[in-house]
Symmetry: C2
Amino acid sequence: MSSNDRNRTKATMRDVAREAGVAQSTVSHYINKTATVAPGTKGKIREAIRKMDYRPNMVARNLKTRGSNILPLFVPDITNPFYSELAKGVADAARKEGFDIVLYDTGYQRNREDDYLELALRQQAGGVVIGYNLLNDRLWERLEKTHTPSILIDVYPPNNSWSSVVVDNEEGIRLAVDYLYSLGHRDIAYLSEPPYLLPLIKRLREFIRILKVRGLEVRREWILVEKEQMNRVKIGSSLGKKLLASPLRPTAVVTSSDLVAIGALNAFLSSGIMVPSDLSLVGFDDIILASYVYPSLTTIRQPKFDMGQRGVKILMKLMSQVEEHSPMVEIIPPQLIERQSCCARR
Amino acid sequence: MSSNDRNRTKATMRDVAREAGVAQSTVSHYINKTATVAPGTKGKIREAIRKMDYRPNMVARNLKTRGSNILPLFVPDITNPFYSELAKGVADAARKEGFDIVLYDTGYQRNREDDYLELALRQQAGGVVIGYNLLNDRLWERLEKTHTPSILIDVYPPNNSWSSVVVDNEEGIRLAVDYLYSLGHRDIAYLSEPPYLLPLIKRLREFIRILKVRGLEVRREWILVEKEQMNRVKIGSSLGKKLLASPLRPTAVVTSSDLVAIGALNAFLSSGIMVPSDLSLVGFDDIILASYVYPSLTTIRQPKFDMGQRGVKILMKLMSQVEEHSPMVEIIPPQLIERQSCCARR
DNA sequence: GTGAAAGCGCTAACAT
DNA sequence: ATGTTAGCGCTTTCAC
């Protein structure tokens, strides 16, 4: 033991076998429960492992089994609470399946997406979790070409050969509008960050559609869509100010995300507009911040943690199938979370 | 190529060598630039790699080199903005050094800390980044016993054999108090989450000390310290209410963290106390939320992203040294970020 | 129930 | 400048 300490080399399975006086393969069988080992032998091996502070080498195991217990997770920005909550769900579920998650934070940069996918593949990842719509379309091809099972979360699949988990975005918007309608609101505005991704596009479209269905007027000056990519909170505050500047003022506002709602909230409060008494406000996502701001935000919850978990569960199925799998798409129902940013129309 | 496609086996270096008509080791040399390769040979190899869509197998490389290009990062809760920003800095710097980061989110649970360290060691991690003060003290021993170079971030080292990066917490509190003092405030309260970790203890102590130094009165009823571990925002809001209930009211409040400040802000606003006109408020950390709430929060910035980067830089040094290293402790200066939650005493 | 032996894909001496 | 060779630590037949 002291000699083992001194030369500072990690004990290998061979060392354990020698110490226990058995064959290496027997130790392997014992560890992996891949054959029955006699009780006495078990004891000797257990003791040897303890004595030598042995620890299996996953790298060697992975090489031998031509796999990897590493699961790459692609997110555009881990500091965005939406993605950190998603990451938590993914990590949690992955862990239960024996996978460690490697974080690839691309910062919404195409070249990074490219590089990181390359790294993930080199790590011999048997599958990948993609938490947003990659900007680089060519990567879909690369994933297909390399036969890498993938699960898309919060992404509408580029074609029908992909598996994904998405919230029912249209339903979410309906929940928001109908809630405001039930509070007596008839003049409802919509503030949106740049709708360059399908979820955002669907929310916007559905907002317009449902307004018509409910017999409400659709005013162009109440549907404010930012063109420029910038910080979502800034977008919200800029759009909020713009809305206040219009001659007619709505009594309620729906936003494309909580961050936009928070920005708008700032704009309203700093202009002396009280929320909810002067203006009701609904967010989308239910990030943690939504319950932290004052007044706390009524919003449409996307169950991010669950979505992460479900995604991993699906991915595990895809990875275990030897045959080419049929893709699975899971649509998750959103949920209205009532807090303090809405009240009945006066 | 089509046969390669069909049997769906990844090309290995051997395949590339065969295709290019050279020895495997030459391909290895070419890839790792570990020997000069003739231009013509280079071309053949490059072409073979392209043709076969070859990609180095990091698992095999890691086994051979008895290392790992994986760097474990321990955080207690990735959804806490402090840690997600830190993680971003760590990931960013690690990437530049060729490391992928594996996220170990322990959820402040001792047994998970234990399990995850075990996993990290099995992955053959050559070093670890620890982003908070582990609850399980025995893990320090385990890290030492296994000779695993480690960098502690936002942690005061358990003894002088550890390397760490911490912000100067005392200086931070001084910055806050002196700023308020300069605005004319003399009645200053302090709200703290449970100070079970050194950074929190130091902030609390320094607050009391500096108040005395500045000749200000230290009132017990203005120094509110939560005992119970719960959500930081809840703590802030509960402490905020308690503060308002006391007969004497301060004109300014310093908090142990931004999350506590945000909770307090909620409590104040919902009690009709205006910030900053009735009460000035200073946070600690400068998490993104600080600039998102209304009014935006004046706070003491800990440069989390930088701290992550610096930590990795130090760790790389530790890992490259063959000799036992002398630990490096880096004290980072905090910074006062002026926003809207403070104003001059009336 | 246990052991011997053959590699997984790669790096790194060492030769040529 | 390139090739030969010997493992890295493990899993997995296949014997016995």
